[in-house]
């Protein structure tokens, strides 16, 4: 069981009306692998990521997570409980304290005792560097702090996989670092991660594989150093030029 890939995407097609967004995506993600997904805006990166935890349903193709199919229906919530998702806009629950945001799902979904969950939540807050904010509300935190809470909230479920959809794109430049640092630590500890990001410094340093997607297809993939040094396709070279020399 555990030597099989954690995630498999096979022939994923997805259209919104006439707009074909994913045109046959294949991707295998090994356990412990960190993959950065890059590509121009509108190329289908978010849609692909959202298919992995079933927030979008593919029109055609198959996705498996840990050997189980990701598809609408009974088992989907249980699968999602094992997959952390970090959004560009954080989406913390504004009516709950930071700690309650983190504790909610472990207690109500997994049935963990509240005291144990709170202790664990406090540890996670420490790990992302904002232990002192536990009893404040999300609106009282900076964007970077909110995103770190969002990461802690996802980690509290002990996920096997973490999905990040442009986690630093909504942040002021001085806050990007603090979020990327948390993500880098997570990667070093062996978490399997799929990260959509424009932070090519992060990609170069942290990821095992860079996947370049354009027009709903994976155009190129490989180790990041190789991608930056000699991308094969024209679109990928343009992309590298734009990102690196801006």
């Amino acid at each position: 069981m555990s030597d099989q890939n954690l995630v498999e995407l096979q022939g994923i097609h997805k259209a919104f009306g006439d707009n074909v967004v994913l045109a046959g995506v294949d991707l295998s993600v090994a356990r412990g692998e960190v993959i950065v997904i890059a590509g121009p805006s509108g190329s289908g990166k978010s849609t692909m990521l959202r298919c992995v935890n079933g927030l979008e349903t593919a029109d055609r193709g198959e996705i498996t997570f840990d050997g189980r199919p990701v598809k609408p229906g009974k088992g989907l919530s249980a699968l999602r409980a094992e997959i952390g998702f970090v959004f560009q806009q954080f989406h913390l629950f504004p009516h709950m304290s930071v700690l309650d945001n983190i504790v909610l799902a472990p207690v109500k979904v997994k049935g963990i005792a509240r005291d144990a969950a709170r202790t664990r939540g406090q540890e996670l807050l420490e790990r992302v560097g904002i232990a002192e904010k536990a009893h404040q509300f999300p609106a009282e935190l900076s964007g970077g702090q909110q995103q770190r809470v969002a990461i802690a909230r996802a980690l509290a479920m002990d996920p096997k996989l973490m999905l990040f959809d442009e986690p630093t794109s909504a942040l002021d430049p001085e806050m990007i670092r603090e979020v990327l640092d948390v993500m880098r630590d997570l990667a070093r500890e062996g978490m399997t991660m799929l990260v959509v990001t424009h932070e090519m410094g992060f990609a170069r340093e942290v990821c095992d594989r860079l996947v370049f997607i354009d027009g709903g297809l994976i155009v190129e993939e490989g180790p990041p150093a190789e991608f930056f040094a000699n991308a094969q396709s024209e679109r990928a070279r343009e992309f590298v030029d734009k990102i690196i020399h801006h």
Partner: protein, 217 residues
């Protein structure tokens, strides 16, 4: 002026208490039924949505007075006597529930799609997401409109007493006193004071709730 009140204190106070009970019962029904109807209207099932929509249309488009006649006199003539208390409280509660449902629905739409997706991503089902994430936020954003609805409901309770003659609420008692004393102005002045105490209390309570639960975004 005050002697009408003091001489007929027992009528006024018992009438006021009946009004309080009508309001309390109707409020409970309005909130519970209104929440369920709102949940139906946003459920991911078009038959539930239609059922919720039908409820709102029916109860918003029938005058309260007609509802009261149907639920009391109408049903009794058809052989179902539910009594004036049940008829009055249920009519006012179910009528107000339609408005509560609409207010909550607008509150639900003010909760971003991202909130729902964040909750689903943590492993909550759609129903749990509604209960734990969406509705608590919807309630918080519609505290003010719910306050207005509650005040309207308090005033509408007077229609209940006047139309169902067997319910001796504040207005009904005021009419009795007025007929007996011919001090019409004074009697209804004190009745108005009785209603203002209730609406004023509701205003204060909802203001406090708003202060306590308002969400900073």
């Amino acid at each position: 002026m005050i002697d009408v009140l003091t001489e007929h204190w027992s009528e006024f106070s018992s009438g006021w208490w009946v009004t309080v009970q009508i309001i309390a019962g109707s409020f409970g029904i309005a909130m519970v039924v209104g929440t369920f109807v709102a949940a139906f209207r946003i459920a991911p099932n078009k038959w539930l949505q239609r059922l919720g929509g039908l409820y709102v249309e029916v109860f918003r488009n029938i005058p309260l007075l007609v509802l009261l006649f149907i639920s009391f006199a109408g049903l009794r003539r058809a052989g179902v006597d539910i009594g004036p208390w049940v008829a009055g409280i249920a009519s006012l509660g179910l009528y107000t529930a339609a408005y509560v449902a609409e207010a909550l629905r607008s509150g639900v739409f003010s909760v971003g799609k991202g909130q729902i997706e964040a909750s689903l991503s943590l492993g909550f089902s759609y129903a749990e997401t509604l209960r734990r994430i969406v509705l608590p936020q919807a309630f918080r954003t519609v505290i003010a409109p719910l306050g207005s609805l509650t005040i309207a409901m308090i005033k509408n309770s007077a229609i209940v007493g006047v139309s169902l003659l067997a319910l001796p609420d504040l207005l009904k008692q005021a009419r009795v006193v007025s007929a007996r004393t011919f001090q019409t102005d004074e009697t209804f002045f004190w009745a108005a004071v009785g209603y203002i105490i209730l609406t004023g209390a509701a205003t204060l309570i909802f203001r406090a709730l708003e202060k306590r639960f308002a969400i900073a975004r």
